[in-house]
Each structure stands twice: as structure tokens, then as C-alpha cells.
């Protein structure tokens, strides 16, 4: 998704159509004047030949000094919405800067405004700035797809006064705008999370048997009612919950299918290409974003791993390692998801000697945590890996796109993964509601009580 390219610098002046026409007329005139020995016309012929050259030299030699700043509002944009790009161009030269056009360089696929006239900018004002040396440009950039886009640098086309030659120069730097995947708000009233929570609660209590003695803290919005420490509440006079829950933060695991290993390599069924994204993959990323944000908001720590290699770490690219947690975790998650790309096939080859089951066992010693698998086009090795992980995950819910093969689905269902089908972004909410429904069936009392308490 990231379409950063090294900035190309067109340092050579080009003749405009007008300059080319003038040059052509000049050459024809020169031929005529030599043929008929018209010395007088030769002057005009050379004007026609020389002017474009002089103009080209002029634009090549006279480099503008411009300071360009660019701001995006908002700085992080959700896919499908737009950002307003404000550019401030300040003339840092002592001469008036005139005769230029501007165009913001955007990656392919984005719709920047067409080339437009850059108004004349007055000379640099070191003292008592009145703003005459500054031009403000603002345009609205529609960002339909998730990704990180490098916007800029500003491409300034400088013309000579007769518009015979132009040179394109890049001014300023490239700025990144992060387009996060669309987050579908999930129904939090549903009991799905409750069921997850319930399982977790028991688990944690077993792991930390002395937790009751730890200090209680005040109730925060979103704390389950069952964690209320009634004794502490009675002492303090306000609602207190058991603090130990904090330490053993509920953690969920989201396994993302990033390699699309099952997708056909070539042929007519290879829909789409890397440039324009893979519809199923985008759907998967949206599902991950929606669930992840939802769970983070509910206080979970969210660990996001690739299906192909769950042990080797998260999808996070750089700064944030380990699970996401609030505060700030949702933003990090979304940003990482914005940068998420379909992993390379080479990576897929690397994982061949992987022993998914063993590591799964290793994890199993730590905790059994809830897990969500988001599958787009997994191959059977991925499925086997998920089956192996199943014992460390409870409950295990797999959101599968339509492109997931039957065999994978069957393998997962046999291993007691709960498989929920997601067809399109709009149905993410329904899919979530689907697990809730089944969770409710599994633990009706819990769900009902929780709904009532909120």
C-alpha cells in the first residue's frame, strides 16, 4: 500500500509547445532565408531559434528559492474520507517569483488537483512580514484506500515570461498521510465480549490465586461488574474494583492472514494486482481494525500476529512491539494496519520448516486467550497452523472471507474453530453480531446480566 517513490527531479528545461512552434518557425525561416538569400529574414529566423534557447537557459539558471510547508487536517485519515491539504509556499528569494504553475505530487491513484497557476509571490520579507511573500494553497484530497501515502513534494513548473520553456522543480519535502482502514463500530451491547471476558476471568483467577489481596482501584467505565470489590467499595464509599485484573490484562489474539498463500499465482483468476490492492485482503484488514479497536476500547490488550507465522511477532512494522493496549493502542493498531501489506511470497517460503504445533504448545503454557483469526486466502498449511493453535485459544473465532477454500473451512470447523463468514465491509457488524448470537446461546445468563448493567 505504501507507494513511496524516490523523488524524481526534472532538472532539464523543456520547451513548451509554444517554444517548439517558435523554434520550428525559426528553422523554417532560416532555411527560407538561406535558400532565397534573404539576409533580412535571417534576423527573425534567429530570433525564433534563439528565443526558446534563451528562455530555456533563463529558467534553468534562475532557480526559485521556496519554502514549502504542508499540513493535513486531520493528520490521520480514515479510508474513504478526505483530508484537507494546506500548503504554504513562501518565497525566500529577494526577487518576486512569478510565472509558475504548481501541482502537488501524489501517488498514483490519488486525485490531486490539476496543474494550476501559482500566483506571483512577492520578495522575501525578513523583517515586518506582511504576508506578501506567502501563498496559501489548499485542496481536498480524497483518500479512498487504506495506506500510507507520501504527498509531495510540490512540483513547481517555472516558465519564462513568454512561456517558451519550462522547468519542473520539486519544492519542499514529501509528507506522509496515514490512511487507516475503515473501522466499523461494533455493537458493544451484544454479549460477545462478555463471553470472552468470562472465560478469561476464570483463567486469570486460576493463574493468579492471590489476587484478591491486591489493592482495589476505583471503578472505571467498562469494568465488568463482577470485578467489583465489594469490600473495598464498602470501605471507600465508592465503587472499587479488584486491581489484580489490571495486571493480568485480558489479552486477545488476532491472527491475520497476510500472505494470502492460497491465492492462485497466475492466470485469469488472479484478480487485481498489488498496485490496486486485493479486495479480500482489504476486507480482512477492515475486520481486524474493527475488532481490534472494539476490543481495545473494551480494555483488552490486543496482540496481532500473522497467521503464517504467529510466533514470529506482530504485524507491527517498527515502533510498537508487543500487544497493543490503551491508551493509544487503537491509533497504533490502525497505523500499523495502514502500513500492512500483503507479505511477500518469499516470506511464505521461509516458513516452510515451521513447527506450528510445538510453538502452540509453548504458548499454551502461558495462557489460553481468546483468539480471532481473519482469513482471506489461506492455504492448508495456514489452516494446519491454526488447528495447532486451537488449544491455546479459547474461544476461537475465525472470520473468513469468501475466498477461503472449503477445505480450510472444514479443517477449522473440525478443530472447533467458530467460523464466521464475512462477505463485504458492510457486513462486518452483522458477522460480529453473529458470534454474539452464538455466544448468547452458549452463555445466556451472563450476557443478559451484562447488558442490563450498562
Amino acid at each position: 500500500m505504501q507507494r513511496l517513490r524516490p523523488p524524481r527531479f526534472a532538472a532539464w528545461p523543456r520547451l513548451t509547445r509554444r517554444g517548439g512552434a517558435l523554434l520550428f518557425v525559426g528553422v523554417v525561416l532560416l532555411a527560407v532565408s538561406l535558400w532565397f538569400d534573404l539576409r533580412d529574414i535571417m534576423l527573425l529566423a534567429f530570433v525564433g531559434i534563439a528565443m526558446p534557447g534563451v528562455a530555456a537557459l533563463f529558467v534553468a539558471l534562475r532557480a526559485p528559492k521556496l519554502g514549502v510547508t504542508r499540513t493535513f487536517t486531520p493528520p490521520v485519515v480514515s479510508a474513504g474520507s478526505g483530508a484537507s491539504v494546506a500548503i504554504t509556499v513562501r518565497n525566500r528569494a529577494r526577487r518576486t517569483f512569478d510565472g509558475a504553475h504548481w501541482r502537488d505530487r501524489v501517488p498514483e491513484g490519488l486525485d490531486a488537483p490539476p496543474e494550476a497557476v501559482l500566483p506571483a509571490i512577492g520578495p522575501y520579507e525578513g523583517v515586518l512580514p506582511s504576508g506578501d511573500d506567502t501563498v496559501h494553497l489548499e485542496y481536498r484530497l480524497r483518500l479512498p484506500r487504506r495506506g500510507v501515502y507520501g504527498i509531495g513534494p510540490l512540483r513547481v513548473g517555472v516558465f519564462d515570461p513568454f512561456a517558451l520553456a519550462r522547468i519542473d522543480r520539486d519544492a519542499g519535502a514529501r509528507h506522509e498521510v496515514v490512511v487507516t482502514p475503515r473501522v466499523t463500530p461494533l455493537e458493544r451491547a451484544l454479549g460477545s465480549a462478555a463471553s470472552v471476558d468470562g472465560v478469561l476471568h476464570g483463567l486469570q483467577r486460576r493463574t493468579h490465586p492471590n489476587s484478591d489481596e491486591l489493592i482495589a482501584r476505583e471503578y472505571r467505565y467498562g469494568d465488568p461488574m463482577r470485578r467489583v470489590n465489594w469490600a473495598a467499595t464498602a470501605r471507600r464509599g465508592e465503587l472499587m474494583v479488584r486491581e489484580e485484573e489490571q495486571r493480568g490484562d485480558p489479552e486477545v489474539r488476532i491472527l491475520v492472514d497476510t500472505t494470502l498463500a492460497g491465492r492462485p499465482r497466475t492466470g485469469a483468476f488472479a484478480h487485481g494486482n498489488a498496485e490496486h490492492g486485493h479486495a479480500g485482503f482489504e476486507l480482512g484488514v477492515e475486520v481486524v481494525a474493527s475488532i481490534g479497536v472494539h476490543l481495545l476500547e473494551r480494555g483488552f490488550r490486543v496482540r496481532c500476529d500473522p497467521v503464517a507465522d504467529p510466533a514470529r511477532g506482530s504485524i507491527a512494522t517498527a515502533n510498537s512491539s508487543g500487544p497493543y493496549h490503551m491508551p493509544g493502542g487503537d491509533r497504533l493498531l490502525l497505523e500499523d494496519l495502514a502500513r500492512l501489506e500483503v507479505a511477500n511470497r518469499d516470506d511464505a517460503a521461509d516458513r516452510a520448516p515451521r513447527g506450528g504445533g510445538d510453538r502452540g504448545e509453548a504458548r499454551a503454557r502461558e495462557a489460553r486467550m481468546p483468539g480471532f483469526a481473519v482469513l482471506v486466502e489461506p492455504d492448508e498449511r495456514d489452516a494446519a497452523g491454526l488447528v495447532g493453535l486451537r488449544q491455546t485459544i479459547e474461544p476461537a473465532i475465525a472470520f473468513v472471507a469468501e475466498t477461503v477454500s472449503h477445505r480450510v473451512v472444514e479443517a477449522l470447523e473440525e478443530a472447533d474453530w467458530r467460523v464466521v463468514r464475512v462477505r463485504r465491509p458492510a457486513s462486518i457488524g452483522d458477522a460480529w453480531a453473529g458470534i454474539a448470537l452464538r455466544a448468547d446461546v452458549g452463555a445466556p445468563g451472563d450476557g443478559g446480566e451484562r447488558d442490563a448493567s450498562r
Binding site: F36, L43, F46, V47, A55, V117, A120
Partner: protein, 776 residues
Amino acid sequence: MHPDDRPLSRAQRLALTAASFLLVAVASMALGPLISGSGWWWLCAFIAAGTMFGGSGLRALRVPGSLVPLGELVILLLLLTLVFGGGTSFALIVPTADTFPLFGDLFDGAQRTIQQQAVPAIAVPALSFVLALGVGVLAICVDVLVQTVRMPALAAAPALVPILIPGFIIESGAEVWALVFSAAAYLLLLRVDVRVRRRANLAGGDDDERAATVVPPARVPAASGLATTLGLTTVGILVATVLAASTPSISTSLLLGTGSQGAIFGRGVTPFIDLGRDLRRPEPRPAFHYFARDNDRPYFTLLTLDRFEGAAWGVTESPVDADNTVDALPLPDGLDGEVEAKEHPIDIVVDEVRTTWLPLPYPTRSVEGLSGSWFWDPGALTVRSVDTDTGGQRYRATWLDRQPTPAQLRSARPTGGDDLAPYLALPDDVPSIISETADTVTAAEATPYDAAVAIQSYLRSDRFEYSTEAPVEEGYDGGGFEVIAKFLENKSGYCVHFASTMAVLAREAGIPSRISVGYTQGTATQERVGGVQRIEVDSHDLHAWPELYFEGVGWVPFEPTPGRGSVPDYSRPGAGEAAETPTPTPGASSGAPSGRPELDPDRGLGASAGGSVGVDGWWWRGGIVVLLAVVVLIAPAVLRAAQRSGRLRRIRRGERPADAAWDELVASARDLGVRLDATATPRGAAVALAEREGFREPAAAAALLVLRDAVELERYGPGRHADEASVARLAGALSTARAALAVGEPLAGRYRAVLVPRSLVDRVRPAFGERTATGA
């Protein structure tokens, strides 16, 4: 430069118009060296200003852009009527039915004046008319290029027309300052256009949804680019000057072997050969007749040949001086008060002779009653016209009848001085027979006069025979050295030979000489008008005779040709006794009719027999007109075909092929008169098209669907690279669909679609909403 040209405001249009006008006005200044005076330029500037600012006014009134050039043509016509229409106009500017023949006459006159005048030409009304017309048309061209097409760079082409002309006519070409100013005016136009375009784009950018909001600085130095512009202009012109100065001239004689002197504004006449041809005419044609009191029977001079270059006699080229009007001619050269001279009026009526030289006796003091513009040449005192000819002229000439006595001639001082040097000049390679003859004939004579008389009597002696046929048969027609040498051997020829021989012999003897070409005195008739005898001059009276210069008397005619004309009294040996009555000698009697058909191109000296020439010219001109008409008629078809092939190329190359195919299909449908909504989606358009008869066939309907789906996929779907198969399929579908479109159309409709493609009209119409090519 930019496809999205915003509409300009009135002030911007006006600025462009002013710059265009400046360009036209300055460029037409380049004609300066060709035309004397400056009135013509003011006229041209007036016409250009009226046309261009008139067009600007029309645009301000929101006249559709395509109609403005027509409106400008109308304005041009009105202005021409105002200036040249004279009494034929209605309310001064509205042309009437009489105006157009007047314009036609002016145009014909201009053609003649261009042929006849030497530079600098006098801006006679005919010439002014053509200049005004030309500049007006150029102004319209410039205006269309600048304002309608919005390509001011191309305005160089019409502006170059007046600049190129001088180079073809005079050696030095247009003046340097005119060229520099033209270049500067052109650059100014470019600059104004750049500014106007920037302003308009800046102002009009808001209406586009995608466009950015631009907040310019509150104030910017207004003359921000002025210094840069001036500097760049200066540098460019200086560089051009240096380059032009340092370019070696490739001589055209090396390159082409011909001189660059054009034939227009010259006097392309080979008088001698034509004279001979006219004399050989079996039937004489009446040239003119005259009425002379006092029984005058002068020779009538048309032109005077004073330059002898060995191969031929020629006229010293001299431009017409506008001050030399024929109401007062100067005294002839060399005449002093001692010679008896009386002024005699003579009335001349031209019958059939068509020439730009006026038949006049030498020397004439004044001419009255001429129509057109006539001017005299200094020295020879011949009178010629710059814009008309002798056809239908009826005029009165007052000529000076000189009666020099032999004593006066004999006592004439030897001539000297540089003035007469050209009349003594002889090329170096004089054949020996000429100098020997000159020596033997004039050796014994003491004075130039006696030498002249001796030469005349030698040529008039029995040894020489008058024949218009012999030189042609022997192949020595003309007046050059070789011819004279041969003539002196064969001793048979006609007036041309006698005259040139005597002139050359006289120069050998040190007497300044020249040859006059004209008519002898003619034949008297019985008819009398008001007591004055009418005398007819016909084409057989064409004649050439030498004139010799004697200090104190001036140019004196001699008559060396035996049997022609009249021998002046003073030129007889032992002259002074009796006045010789003119002896009319019809040329036909002296030579047998040659029986040659009259296919000589009439170059103006003889009577008019130009019927066949006229017909030829008509065919030629008609051919050009027909050719032009054909070009104009098929131009839209050619444009449309070029557009189609461009789209097919796009399909082949895979540059948005479906778009190109669909555009072509829609355009083809439009050509056939199918009215598709410009805003219709491909789907909508396909539905409309599918109702046509041709698409009932399944193959055609399938092709239509293929095209529709392809264009929808390309416009709205993810961008994909077209492969060969899909391109081939598109091309096939396009040709099928286009064939299906034509089904059911009458033949006339199909021709109309080809010849008058309506899709082009739609394109030209600015209101048509064209989809931009680069949609994302």
C-alpha cells in the same frame, strides 16, 4: 499550453487585441522600403485597428466565437467601402452593387501597378486598396489565431507575410529596425497572452470542484516581470543579431544559379523582339489616332532604351517619383535658348494599344486628360503609369517642336561630363566589324554632327535592305552585338537593327546615343474633326530610332532605317533647303506577309490581341479557385479521418483503448445525425444506439456491448493494462459497430456524414462538455 482555457474578461480580450494590433501594424511597417510615403501605413493601421477592435467589440457583445471572424470580414468590407467606395457607397460605409465592380477595378489596377511600378512604388489608390485588404485579412487571421484558437505563437505566420515580401523584391530586404520591432511586438503579444492566461486561470479556478483554493498575497509588485521580460527580449534579439551577422551568406547563385530579383515591380519588357513581332503582323491593328494642328507629324516615343550591355539594349531601372506628375514636364536635357522651339498641342485618342507607356512626342511639356496615375521618368521624359494602361485614354499633349539648324548641330561642343557617360558606354568586347565600320564611315568627318550624318547616310544607302523577315530567318533578331555584327555583314534588317547599329556606331564615334521605341508619324486620313486632320497610327507604324545628343540642342532623332518614317531635315547631308514631307510607308508593303499565326504573346507594345491569353488565364485562375474550393470542401472530411486514425492508433497502442473506441463510435453516430446526449453515460448511449436498425443483427449488437463494457470497465473500473487480444477485439468490434451504424442510412446521409462530420462541429462548439482524458 493548457487544455483548460478559461473564458477571458473583456479587459483581457482588449489587451490581447491591442497586442495583436501592434504586431500587425509593426509588421506591415516592414513594407516601408517598397512603398513611398507613409499614408499607406496609416491607412493599413486604420483598417487593422478597425477590424481587430471591431472584433473585440463583437466578442464583448458575446457574439459566438465562430461568428466573430465573419463579423470582422464584414467590418473590413465596410471600412474598405468607407475608404475606397467613394460615391458608390450607401451612408458612406454600406457597399452597394456598384461598389464591388469598383473594388474589382481597383484589384485589377493593383495587379497592374505591382507589375509596372518599380520600388519604391507610389501608393496609388489601387495599391492602397490591396494593401488595406491584405492587412485587413492578416489582421483577421492574427485575431482568430490569438483569440479564437488561443495560440498566439502561430500569429507569427500571418505577421511574417508583410515582412517576407520586401526580401523577395529588393536586395536589402526589410529594414532592420522594422524586423526588430516586429520581433519585439511578437514577444509582447506572447507576454500579454501569458499574463492574460495566468490571470484568467487564477480567477476562474474556483468553479472546478477538484481545484485548489489559492490565496495569493495581498499585493505583489505590479511590474514584477517587467525587467525580466525586457532583459530576456533584449538578450534574445541580441543573440539573434549576432547569429545573423555571423552566418555566412550562401549565395543563391551558387545554390540555385539564379538571381533573387523578382519579376514583380519590374518592367519585364523585351521591347525589340516584341516590336519585330508586331511589325511582322500581317494585318495592322489600329494603335491610336491623333489630331495635330500645324500639320505636325511627330514620332511618338513609348520608351527609351539607354543602356547597352552587349547582349541587349535595356532601360535603366528607376523608381517612379511621385512628384513627377504629368501636368508639367521639365525641359528636355541639353536644350538651350538658341534653338527655335515652339509648343504645339496635340490630341491623342488611343484605340487598341495597351501598354503602360504613354505614346508621346519627345519632348512633351505637359499632358492633360489622362485617367489613372501617370508619371514621367527623368531624362527620357517618357511617361508611364503605375496602376493603369493606355486602354481608352484620350489626352492632350503639349509638345515642344524643336527646329535645330545644321549649323547649330555642327557647332555643338564636344560632350563631356559624367551625366552622359552611360550613353557612351560600350562593353569591352566590341566585335571588330563594328569598330572597323565606325572607323571607315566616320573617319573623314570633322564634327560629331557630320559623323552622325555620315552614319545615317551609310545605313540608308543602297547597300542596306529593309526586311522584317531576313533577321528572323537568319537568326539574328534583336539588338545585341552579335546581331549588329551579323547585320553589318548581311545588310538586311529592320528598324531595330538600323537603330541599334546607328546607336552603337555613334557611341563608337563618341556621340552619346540612345534608342527610342515608339510609333512613326502614322497615316493621314481624309477625316477631319474641327478642321484638323485625323491621323491613324497602327501596329505597323511601330518603330525604333536612334537619338543622338548634341550639347545645346539635346537629344536629336535620326532616321537610319531606309523606307521608314521621315528623315529629319537637319540630318540630311547638305541640309537646310527643303522640308521633307512625311513619307508614310506602311510596313506591310515592304515585306511579304510571313503567314505566321498570331500566337505572339502580346507584351503590351502591340495592339490588343489578348483573347487567347485571357482565356488561358481564366482557366488557370478557375483551376485554382476550383482547387481551393475542393480543398475547403474536403477539409472537414480530412480532419475527421485524421481524428479517426488517431483514435485507432490509440487503440492499437493501448492508450485507454476502450475510451478511444467509444469516442469514435459516438462520433460516428453523431456524424450520421444521431443525437446523443453529451452527458449520457456509455450505457445510456448504448441503449439509444441499440435501437438503430443496424444493431438488430446479433453480431452488431454484441459488438456494441463489447465496446460499452470495455469503456465502462476502463472508465470506472480499476486501471488495467490492455493486452493484444482485447485491443484486437476492440478494433474488430468498433469496425462492426460502425458498419452497423450506417445500416439504414440513405446514401446522401452517408456522404453527408463523411463530408460534413457533425461530430467535428460539436467539438468546435465550446459549450460541448468534453470529458477530460485523465480521470482517476
